[in-house]
Subunit: 350 residues, 4 copies
Amino acid sequence: MPKTMLAVVKPTAAPGSEIREVKVPTFGPTDVLVKVKVASICGTDLHIYEWDRWAQGRIHPPLIPGHEFCGEVTAYGCEVTSVKEGDFVSAEMHVACGKCLQCRTGEAHICQNVKIIGVDADGAFAEYVVIPESNIWKLDPAIPVEYASILDPLGNAVHTVLAGEIAAKTVAITGAGPIGLFSLVVARAVGAAQVFIVEINEHRRRLAKQMHADLVLDPSKEDVKSILLKRTGGLGVDVVLEMAGHPDAIRTAFDVVRRGGRISLLGLTSKPISLNFSEDIIFKGITVQGINGRRMYQTWYQMTALLKAGKLDLHPVITDRMAMKDFSLAMERLKTGAASKILVYPNGTK
Amino acid sequence: MPKTMLAVVKPTAAPGSEIREVKVPTFGPTDVLVKVKVASICGTDLHIYEWDRWAQGRIHPPLIPGHEFCGEVTAYGCEVTSVKEGDFVSAEMHVACGKCLQCRTGEAHICQNVKIIGVDADGAFAEYVVIPESNIWKLDPAIPVEYASILDPLGNAVHTVLAGEIAAKTVAITGAGPIGLFSLVVARAVGAAQVFIVEINEHRRRLAKQMHADLVLDPSKEDVKSILLKRTGGLGVDVVLEMAGHPDAIRTAFDVVRRGGRISLLGLTSKPISLNFSEDIIFKGITVQGINGRRMYQTWYQMTALLKAGKLDLHPVITDRMAMKDFSLAMERLKTGAASKILVYPNGTK
Amino acid sequence: MPKTMLAVVKPTAAPGSEIREVKVPTFGPTDVLVKVKVASICGTDLHIYEWDRWAQGRIHPPLIPGHEFCGEVTAYGCEVTSVKEGDFVSAEMHVACGKCLQCRTGEAHICQNVKIIGVDADGAFAEYVVIPESNIWKLDPAIPVEYASILDPLGNAVHTVLAGEIAAKTVAITGAGPIGLFSLVVARAVGAAQVFIVEINEHRRRLAKQMHADLVLDPSKEDVKSILLKRTGGLGVDVVLEMAGHPDAIRTAFDVVRRGGRISLLGLTSKPISLNFSEDIIFKGITVQGINGRRMYQTWYQMTALLKAGKLDLHPVITDRMAMKDFSLAMERLKTGAASKILVYPNGTK
Amino acid sequence: MPKTMLAVVKPTAAPGSEIREVKVPTFGPTDVLVKVKVASICGTDLHIYEWDRWAQGRIHPPLIPGHEFCGEVTAYGCEVTSVKEGDFVSAEMHVACGKCLQCRTGEAHICQNVKIIGVDADGAFAEYVVIPESNIWKLDPAIPVEYASILDPLGNAVHTVLAGEIAAKTVAITGAGPIGLFSLVVARAVGAAQVFIVEINEHRRRLAKQMHADLVLDPSKEDVKSILLKRTGGLGVDVVLEMAGHPDAIRTAFDVVRRGGRISLLGLTSKPISLNFSEDIIFKGITVQGINGRRMYQTWYQMTALLKAGKLDLHPVITDRMAMKDFSLAMERLKTGAASKILVYPNGTK
């Protein structure tokens, strides 16, 4: 075992990051040390890199970011029983406390005391990362390595799509970033009758078409509400998955959902949103859900089953593969929207 | 059968109403003519009386208002089979189309083409009212006559309380008008662990105490959020039933609900409400529901079962009993908040 | 309009049937007269033909059987508003009373007073059939004519598959008659991870393979329990859809379902079945559901949406197309199991 | 700390038990040692005492039985963080593995590898018992000590009652042993409209009446089916909670449940039960559930909330309080059905 390793480090409370040589992390009796094979980049990582208001309030540098990954078990603590050296694994990076009401009633994804590896503790943009045994997810060999590194955002999509009835429903997805695109693939795989994408970015719209959306709309040019009402025989859409977090997208969600429909909100907002509760929610009798993380571990079982069955083609979303040293370049690619999901190879084996 | 009858009439598009002699209404082959025993007054009737913006946009005078009542079957059309003369009945006053998707999938309470008797057609502040057979609800003799006239708002409460899990839950009700108070009684009857009332009006708070609320708070003087967090061990409230429609009450709803909790919205709003979706809905993983009317006819069965079992003491809510000629006086009593539910006796038998 | 028509008639309380010239049926003010384009044959029709014990107790000859069909609106009563001449339609043949608790609470498929056209009243093996307007299902032009004649059994399958969670689940179907095969197609379309078929008849097993079952087992030769346990990593199957009604199939259902799983029972049994409740149900914490008919009309909307989206390839199930005069021949083909779904053309336009 | 303690011991594979002096049990780093204040006797303890067929297959003597108790924390392992000396606690005695699919998807009550303290390991009929920290339930001081010792069977009742809709429903409970009686109290507390008890033992029927059952029937003398049909207007009962495990009781359950109703099975059976699936389950469209243990830990939260709110009067069920030395006498009292729930005081402070 080496003593040091390379990692992406946010060194101080300021924009940017560096590639540094740091100590290989130590681990406790219930922890697993994983050699990272692939780590992928999330929008959250860009917020941390750019040091926006959210990052300033949440992140305590120095920090190694990175919460989407897969790798190989290298070592583990003396109380660990469920993995052995060489096992191929990913992990749920939300570490729940296990003791609050939510954790003890099957809702650990909204734990009162959650800590996120890669946000609140050192993460996966490094040659090695430490994960508690309870959060390790052993990977079925049938799952492709590249997919194994994006289970975190895929799990967001699976959680959102399956948070209510979906089979035989019409579905609108507002926002076609990686989670929006994954939601498109998952919704189709579990029997959504039609999936409509609303997305302002051209690159993303192109991916949505490539991934078999039934209709892809540009809200900057098209009258989304009237098109979707027409497309649904005047009824409105059964289910809206809101993945953008933008006020216009949220307005669209409430405009197009049908009476009795569901809106599942995942896209984080940075500004207050104004609604007419009577018209938007009450008279329509709709249900609005906040969606957070992945259900532990129901979402992981669901995701594994769908992947093993070959029901999810995620390849178009993976637009870039980069060495870890090019992390800053990756950040630039993300900003423009030209890249969707970028894979990083900390141990150099791209 | 008399040819004419007395009724409360909104004669023109202006504030106020009159007691007039009008023709007893005619009825079709599938209709039932009911002699009104008791009709009760809803906040909606006050909106119509005062001719507010909502009323101006919805009501087409001349109109006989009134949508909460009970009475006796006097006559019926040739195709009616389920009632006979003298039957004691109430009615669901939302007349659903029966042909839209919502109607055909068990969600007639959010019918796309609903018409409300007493709003869109002549209602129950009259000696007689006409109701389609499909909407008649035959009353079990065990149900007290006074309660029989308030099944419409009681049904709103039953629908809201039972729209999600409630047994063993902590519940906050924002707004203690008649439906809020009914919700208190129903929530207690179906096993809510504690019920907290938040209400600015002193008369209403007094009623809430009398009706065994576990805690009654005045938001104009008390720090509702910190009191309810303390009362729930820092957790927050499992279920919030929003009955006020006021921006401050809605703000309170989102402040006090716990992670994973439910907010059911019934109180109609007249202004846009601003929310921080990330903090208020998404991170907390809550569910927000719009509630409308009564489920046809599940709510009616539930309500009947609870009333027959003697589980609901609604008497404190019925504060006034008046002759129909005093309708304008009743409106004044409602405006001040001094009255809660006012019963009117169109056939003079108070 | 002709005065007489040809029809399959069960003339007396005895095995067999005849092709007879009978009067075109009359219809009431709320009825629709439909010219039958295609009618398809159900196992129930074979029971009636063979005059088994069930038929002897239920059927009152003379009767025209047939409850799966599509056709064209020819005429209708004076109160009908939702169809016009020439409309292409199918129908829900369970005529619910509309007045019992089940009907009034969204469960009309288990109406206390249901009557079935083709069983309790003259059905669709005829040039014309009369249907109440409420039960007519207008067909989207995107739906193929052959599929339009088999919506009744397809609806059984959709109802069964969607009676609980199914996405990402492993599913075993015991019995691969037409409804079992439709269930296979539907389960795959709505994201079942793997679908296993257990069927003793070779013809049916061949169809199941052709329709992409993940595994097809012959219980007369293979150890179904140990194979399915192995295939699910020792866990057992998440969902079992029981379509055979045979004691051995039911035994298999309880043997292979996992702890916490679902068994949905559709296949009718003719003998008592013996279970060890502690081992078979209680310790495993499973849910067992009885499934009957189609949800009115949620199942019809779901089925239409899936068919319009092109998600269901049902062609292999349709093995035979016959003129109505060959009805007895069709019965013979069914008995051997050589035929699966047989289409009949009462108006000669095969 | 003493080195030895008194305990009820099943010394060998034969009927009976002894009071013996044994070593105070040792505990590991994640365990809690509890001084038992009250332990109560379950029917399972009688099976072990009498050494019936089930006991012969499951129990490995020597064993200290006892799985219902409360007590005070005396000592704990070095990794325990959530309790301190003197804390008043009870415990979930089903120790789930935490690693199987059921455990990781919120269904630990049907864990594939569960071990039960008092059945598979030494239990609570002793001065001290060892419990893993994860299974300790800290008791709210508002909960009476006697109730604290019967949370295990009360939890069975809460789990069963709340396993489906219950508010405003009619409920039949077959079998009025302690769990049946607790179910009666819980069902009433959460708004069941009427609760009917079917019980053959006179002592138990007397308790059911005392605990406010709406109707108590003796199936050896009364025609339960026709009485309950009449009582429900010919409809049948909405929910049946089967607590007896006797073939006659199960037959009654299927006879009286209404179309679309729920049967929740808790009572363990020792013989196969024969059903006519078509008539008993499929045509009626009912749901049958196997119920096992308590949901971890949702049931515990629900139970605590109901007890704290003072909604459950359980006193009539506690018929006997005995010193531990009289354990054999207690067994005799149970056999006759004269006793319902018997409390035992291992540390002599009755």
